[in-house]
Amino acid sequence: MQKADRQLITFALTICVTCSVLLSAIAAGLKERQERQVELDRKMNVLIAFGVDTRDAETGRRISAERVEQYFSEQIREVVLDAESGREIAPEDVDLVAIREKRQLPLFKWEEDGEVQKYAFPTSGQGLWSTIYGFLALERDLATIAGITFFRHGETPGLGGEVDRSWFQEQFVGKRLLDDDGAPVRFQVVKGGVENRYPDGNEHAVDGISGATITGDGVARFVTEDFRRYNKFFETIRGS
Amino acid sequence: MTPIKISKGLDIPIAGKPAATLHEVSHEGDIAVYQEFEGLKAKLKVQEGDLVEHGQVLFIDKKQPDLQFCSPVAGTVKAIEYGARRALYRVIIEPSAGDQPVTFNRYTLDQLRGIGRDAALENLLASGLLSLIRQRPFSRIADASVTPKSIFVNAMNTAPFGPDINVAVQGREQALQAGVHILTQLTEGPVYLCLAPSAAEAVRNLDGAEKHVFEGPHPAGNTSVHIHHLDPMLPADQVWNVKAVDLIRIGELFLNGTLPTTSVVSLAGPGVQETARAHYRVPIGMPLSALLDGKLESGEHRIVKGNALAGVAMKSAEHVSAIESALTIIPESEEQYFMGWLAPGINKLSASRTYLSGWNGHKREWKLTTLLNGSYRSMVFTGLYDKYVPLNILVDYLVRAVLAHDTDEAISLGILETDPEDFALCSYVCPSKMDISGIIKQGLAEIEKEGI
């Protein structure tokens, strides 16, 4: 082997080793913090669905991580349900893949003074171009919507993209997912406005976004479907 | 003979068609010989004050030194004038009685059937009449060192206006026949004679040429159209062409052995008094003023050497051309019409149907002027031009290739088969008032300079 070649290989090796060691160290050092951030983001969205003001009114900044953790330790309890039986699953059986496939259903309970006041669960589904992700919170009656948030989507800005706007999300508050007989309804996002279609009002519908019929239909569909998934469990609670 | 029918094109219904009558005009005063060939570099052979004989050399072509341009009259060289860049403009000769005219080889009609190429060229070069024969591509004076693939004789005229061969041939039938025989000596290929449906017996029955009749609107009479239909050219081909009216003079040269002194000129156009619109046999080089005196309408006119579509504007102090036998007189105008874009267009001629005249206006005659009828605008690709060029050429793209100096593209689009005059109708109808012929001319010049 010639000297030049040896030098070349030595240099290449040095660079490789240096880079990999450096990167591994940084990745390992930051891993915990990054995971905390992901978790924090998820929790933040749950809080939004529960109607917690996550931004400081004056500064407009997000509330601190400690505050979020405080909410979760004091007032929020997370459980995972089995979609088929509708029962809670022991923490050791929780499976992330099953959650993604909606075979296991995470549920957040908002407790005040030891009593559950609100429930929240993730809801997601196809819009026009993309999957829309959000959380839906229900009042104690397990039928009235307490809040909804859509935090990730890839819809057209100005059209379907309006789902992340407050005007759209706020209309959900107070609407009901059960009819008078206690059966789950087909929730509607009404094109052209609820007022026009139902002059007497409709508590199972919200106004659509003009120009985004398919996004609206998608939202209505996956909210209805996800509610039905959880409803098995809700019925047991209502029954008790 | 089944006529070849041309459907694309347009006969512009301009007033002033020359009558089929021939008047003799004589002239005593000065005569002028012009250097009127583009790209020719003249070398003078006389000085001011020299005495010249009828048929004596005045100047030669530096590129083709055998080609001599001769005096149509005996006299004294009164003045030699130069134009831009010290190029020869014209030689003015004051006629006087000469001693002995310069003579050329003389043949009988029968001899001419077989004198051979060299003998034919000898006379044509020595007399300068080879300059009446043009060579494609580039429409330059025929190059004697080239044997053309074929020769086209144009015995028709569809442009407004030119001399009628039926009139010009009267009394000169033999000379025309002699001209055809001479041409057959110059090429190994065919000599095509292209006729109008109205061609007289004398023209129709010419011997030695392959005859074809072309029928249809202008430019059915253009040589490019004839070449395209009879014997299309590839880029390497060379073809000669000559007008039948000019061929008469070539025939006269060989039959008489002296340089012809007269040519037939058509005087036409809306600017000419109706009674004066006719054919004239005039001494070559006579002043225009003498010819036109008393024949024009009142007002300002543009004197055009050639036809209204492809001719060149002349000054009134100039003389009858030795190579162009049409004179067209068009009134000048700067008239402005109120709200022209709104007018129904009964009084304004247009080939487009946006004017009422576009629907039926071509049935009557119009006293057209030099008015541009619009302003210059940028080019818009419409395919409109293609309706007026019966040559299987995409004119818009040819024009664009030339403007972009893309000579290869221009050649593959067929520019070498054409002559600027073929695009005169495009310029005529162009709503942006583009000078299509000028662009093509510039493109041809560029290709000629670069070489194919």
Partner: protein
């Protein structure tokens, strides 16, 4: 030092990496919807570009020329991964909005281009200046495009309302073609003003 000044000022207009050399367009389109993301992206690129220039300049006499490019890529890639990791740990939400575009700095022609064109044959001091100058040239355009897009698209600038509340956002400015248009207009204006545009 005149040359140092020129090294920094040249890439700002006369030789701007985006508007003149038309490099790094991909990220200029993707992250300029808001000032905030554009600013973070500009900082990330500045960090990567200056440090990659300095590191490669330091190594320039040792790098065997046969593996020159691969070493440059390794250095740049490592730096980019570090920046990406840090962003994820400390600016989670922004890093999610920037998504893969931070990672794509690796393939950003500006970084590789400066390493090849400048750092490999100049001392660290100058290379630092060059990296800084080009980062600034990139950042200026990025922030201009982002300003245009955020103001037109949402009526805000860096999250602050600059237009009346009832301003109707221009949806085109938010879409990627909007970035193309604004970038195109910037190039048009710059070339018209500096008369830098040459036919052929």
């Amino acid at each position: 030092m005149a040359t140092a000044k020129k090294i920094i000022s040249d890439p700002l207009s006369d030789n701007n990496p985006i508007t003149i050399q038309v490099l790094g367009i991909c990220s200029a389109l993707a992250v300029t919807v808001q000032m905030e993301t554009a600013f973070v992206m500009a900082c990330a690129l500045t960090a990567v570009l200056t440090s990659s220039n300095v590191i490669i300049s330091l190594l320039r006499n040792h790098i065997p020329s046969r593996i020159r490019m691969i070493v440059e890529v390794s250095v740049i890639a490592s730096l980019v991964v570090i920046v990406d990791q840090v962003l994820r740990a400390y600016l989670f939400e922004l890093s999610r909005q920037l998504s893969i575009f931070v990672g794509l700095i690796i393939t950003n022609c500006i970084v590789m281009g400066r390493a090849e064109a400048f750092a490999i044959q100049n001392p660290p001091g100058k290379s630092f200046m060059d990296g800084l100058g080009n980062s600034l040239g990139y950042s200026v355009i990025l922030l201009l495009v982002a300003s245009g897009r955020e103001i037109l698209g949402s009526g805000t600038w860096y999250g602050l309302n600059v237009l009346p509340q009832n301003y109707l956002g221009n949806g085109l400015a938010v879409l990627a073609p909007g970035a193309f248009l604004i970038l195109g207009v910037i190039i048009w204006v710059q070339r018209t003003v500096t008369n830098n545009f040459k036919d052929d």
